[in-house]
Symmetry: C2
Subunit: 447 residues, 2 copies
């Protein structure tokens, strides 16, 4: 049994506390914010999560899958909205697989309740102000805590990581997108009805910017506008007043604007937030470890940030089992297992912004997706659609998914320009001759 | 006339203070360390500098070129030492151009004396503890200073930059090499004689590590060992004791070891330092600007760190002249002018480590250098040797030098594998038929 101090009682810190307690460790958690069950949830990030199978695998170990499924809204695909009001549905998987829209606050509270039930003390309003990495000693508020291991699960702006930054040979980078985001809420319709398709992640792709909307169980949708910070027209700087923003929405998102009755108030009230990718190395020093966003914050465009954090928890616990709870061995093994995967999902998340805001609105992308699907049907042992690899193959490491995606992209580039492929795929992707041709081409490509 | 607060009285802060005072600005300087004239120089970095023409151009504006030339030791090339004790000289330029070995402390003191003479107050032992970037207000020790502009010239571990890191949308990266360094001194011989060739930068290239030595005016040399931090054999970790280090030197640098009589003492006494590249953006926020290493710290392998900082000073003063001293316009123009050049020299410096520690010891590199020289002679309007571009063309921006080097490297790759070129170059690089052939090939490549 080890004494473990966790800094941060967000979803990752809470799940980790549960899993370590279940292992038999003596766990204590310190959290900067107040208790969301007493005060209401004050998140640092978006209020909706897109939970996928990787995250569920971590939650499964904590036994909360059923609770989460009960409050989740299934999203089996994207509903893409054109400027003309038309829309079309693009399924995420080939077999109806779905991701889940879940309230971040609700999930966090559920995990905190479980921590209480497991007898793990959580001290709220105890901000981490100092860490002795080598000694495993941390000062949170007025309390000094000492652990066999201290784990920083305190998010993208981690106070524990700040102590790493003061040490020699700590590689670190934070890189911001030129785009920021602002949230807007579409209320439920009469009787809690949904004013947009309930079972979809909605996207209004507009090339250099986009609006998205995720369903909530009460019939409302949470919209997020991803928009350049600066610029003369399509930017937060140019649209700082509700009037300027409203005229822009009337042009770019007329159908969404019609569903936002209190647009002006929301625009004025809701803040603009920034989007950063944070990479660092090493993740452990002495008796201290970073995990989740504290070790690898990513942009939200693959919906994988929290999923990656939950996956961290699952992998750490598996490694601890392999080394019989020897934390000194587990820390480097954990970083070795996770670092390349964290880098891979960071890259994929940045690339998916371009897919979401631009490509999904273009005909050539739709053709490419059809070829990818036909190929996956013709050679399922060789080709898996990229979205499926990241989202619905929770045991495929992100880095392996990225390598596979790169190899498949090279093949798709070629097939998308191949007249013997494009026309037949559009006619009938299940055609036997086409399937045989695709199978031959895939075999040649991957041999 | 503007009120300018400079944080940092190292070489860059001092030169900038002189140049701004000469413009007519009201300048005050705060420095964390004590006065090196009273206390002896305590540098944070290597005690020797390789000053090249870019740095001299900045110093020229301050009128100190003659003073610097007096204390500099000219180094017109590299003396490369083999394991067998053999050595050969590789000139840096085609026309005997040289770089200068200069004492960092001596140069700094000279600039501080000039600041005194110019009536610029320098407050030592006033560490910067807080900066209000927007207001141009800085707290140094117990003093609060307010400027129209605050300039952070406080080096790679800049306290002013730390205030930028707390603001939103500040891109930042620090990246460490797996190699560190340790300095060792070769004493002068009898009567102040030089025990190695005086007019050369000495290199003992050993592929994955290297030793270098720069001459000092008193006949001594300052050696620097660049060595992996970790590893089983060739590393600081494996050679932490003088005995373990001595046996390694006996194998890798027997001739140098013979010139280091107090090797064991020096090895035990001198620290191992780390090597980092630091990039950030933006360099200015509100009324505050970063300059020199505070904005762009690089590894030392092209000897350009301080040269780039002095070039910053020159360019900033030129821009101020262009905009009639309008600092609000000058700050973004400065960053725009310098950022890509800082990134370019950071890249070149990292690449030059491989050239110094590995390539200069290999025959194929020497052939390539001969082809480059022959090419530059055949087509001087099209080809300039890479070292010359970086070091002896002070008005060619680093980014332009890097682009030209990339284009030339593609040509050199091809010519190095061309039997019609290699053998004739080794026979007689001035041969008329060869020169005509090289001219044709260069023309075709660059057209």
């Amino acid at each position: 049994m080890s004494r473990i101090v966790i800094v941060g009682a967000g979803p990752v810190g809470s799940l980790l506390g549960l899993l370590l307690k279940a292992r038999g460790d003596d766990v204590v958690v310190y959290e900067r914010r107040g208790d969301p069950r007493a005060q209401g949830y004050v998140g640092g990030r978006s209020i909706n999560l897109a939970l996928s199978d990787r995250g569920m695998l971590g939650l499964q170990q904590a036994g909360v899958v059923d609770d989460v499924e009960k409050v989740a809204v299934a999203m089996p695909g994207r509903q893409v909205h054109g400027v003309d009001g038309s829309s079309s549905f693009l399924p995420y998987g080939l077999n109806g697989e779905h991701i889940r829209s879940v309230s971040r606050g609700g999930l966090n509270i559920k995990l905190l309740d479980l921590l209480d039930g497991a007898g793990v003390p959580v001290h709220f309003e105890h901000p981490c102000v100092d860490v002795d990495l080598a000694a495993g000693r941390v000062r949170c508020g007025a309390v000094e805590a000492k652990g066999d291991v201290v784990i920083g699960a305190d998010g993208a702006f981690s106070a524990v990581r700040a102590a790493f930054l003061k040490t020699d040979r700590f590689d670190y980078s934070q890189s911001f997108l030129p785009h920021g985001y602002k949230e807007l809420a579409i209320p439920a319709g009469p009787g809690g009805s949904f004013l947009l398709e309930r079972h979809a992640l909605h996207i209004w792709p507009r090339s250099s910017f986009m609006l998205i909307a995720l369903p909530n169980q009460d019939g409302s949708f949470t919209c997020t506008l991803f928009f350049a910070h600066d610029g003369d027209d399509a930017s937060f700087a140019a649209r700082s007043t509700p009037t300027a923003a409203r005229s822009f929405f009337a042009r770019a998102f007329p159908d969404a604007l019609a569903l936002l009755p209190d647009f002006d108030d929301q625009w004025a009230r809701n803040p603009v937030s920034s989007l950063a990718t944070i990479r660092c190395q090493p993740w452990h020093r002495g008796k201290t470890l970073l995990i989740g966003d504290a070790a690898h914050a990513i942009v939200p465009f693959f919906g994988q940030g929290l999923n990656a954090g939950f996956e961290d928890c699952r992998v750490l616990v598996e490694i601890l089992a392999d080394v019989d709870g020897d934390w000194a061995r587990a820390l480097p093994l954990f970083e070795q297992a996770r670092k390349e995967n964290a880098d891979a999902i960071a890259t994929l998340a940045l690339e998916n912004f371009i897919e979401m805001r631009d490509k999904v609105g273009r005909p050539d992308f739709l053709v490419r997706k059809k070829i990818e699907a036909a190929l996956a049907r013709a050679a399922p042992d060789l080709v898996t659609p990229s979205y499926t690899l990241v989202t619905f193959r929770p045991l495929t490491p992100y880095a392996a998914a990225l390598r596979q995606i790169r190899a498949q992209d090279a093949l798709l580039d070629r097939l998308s320009a191949d007249v013997d492929v494009v026309a037949p795929v559009l006619r009938d992707p299940a055609d036997a001759a086409l399937q045989a041709l695709l199978r031959r081409k895939a075999t040649a490509h991957f041999s």
